[in-house]
Symmetry: C3
Subunit: 140 residues, 3 copies
């Protein structure tokens, strides 16, 4: 049994939902030899998130953005946390709705996702910049 | 320290929220001897999810379905991902709102859930069919 | 490689979102010597939750409460699970929206959160009382 850990950044993305499975897999490589276990991946920010969803049709990610913008609208008159811009407070709530981390099984030395499953970087700020990730693999 | 992994399917369920704690526990059995650790359980699909919630009163699951159908309605005019049916795009978003996986502590060789806590399979498609699960236990 | 586990309660909080990073860190202490790995923290209840979000400005937590109360309103005429009070059914759904657990990397013997990231106890009941937590650290 071993634990391995990686810290890296993902390149800046526009506001929206972005498929980053391959970008993350390249950073992690071969899990330094771990073949069976789990991989925990977390984004160290509170106005972006990570989630698992459909990797094939980019239209899904377009609709995600529209739906989340309606679930947590900007400029509600009752917001008190407004100094960082109209996109900031909704970004915090959207981050907690999807969550800051995903955990994926490792099987045969690879992320064991479903056929249509990929990792989304959920960028909720208009200009979020690059985002820091910590990945931790545990297994044997 | 050891890691153990299981891959199995859960039987097809109608659209809605379903208590599957016992169905999953039967598949995993005695954790192959792991008594203290964590168990990560993931659904390998993007139009269904897993969450922990109240295991006693089935009325809670009825209301869950109603509330989620209102949070992410079908047939919004701005949806572009519509080819797979009116239930499909809302199913993807509902999946990310609850998440694809749960992680539960293992204590004394059993899932250490709260008294009223159970695992829900959140089936967001009208006809989702059987659903694939991967469970990974890590501990000693 | 080792696994360590803690079971403890967090003091009763009023309905709302509460920063409990330090309260949890004091209970766990030095991870009993684990310096690299993950820490899984779960709340053993179904009307409260845990999430990671911004630790600096308390206004964020005020807005969280307002937004969640609008996302899942009380007293909807179609609710059938109503016997435990008007705050109960919304509390169950809010719990699944944020989730019952968070997993955080351990690096250098500490929770490796982002600069502005903290753990929120999301108390969705008017009088939730003290809340039971199980924390499990795995690593070396």
């Amino acid at each position: 049994m071993r634990v391995e850990q990686w810290s890296f950044s993902l390149g800046a993305k526009p506001r929206g939902f972005h498929l980053v499975t391959d970008e993350i897999a390249r950073k992690i490589g071969d899990f330094r030899g771990i073949t069976t276990g789990i991989c925990h991946i977390i984004i160290q920010h509170t106005s972006a998130g990570l989630t698992l969803n459909e990797s094939a049709d980019p239209d899904v990610r377009t609709d995600f953005a529209q739906i989340f913008d309606r679930l947590v609208p900007e400029n509600e008159p009752y917001y008190v946390h407004t100094l960082e811009g109209s996109d900031d407070m909704p970004a915090h709530v959207k981050s907690s709705l999807v969550g800051a981390s995903v955990t994926v099984p490792i099987t045969g030395g690879r992320l064991n996702l479903g056929t249509w499953q990929g990792v989304y970087l959920c960028e909720h700020r208009n200009r979020g910049g690059s985002r820091r990730i910590v990945a931790t693999a545990i297994g044997e």
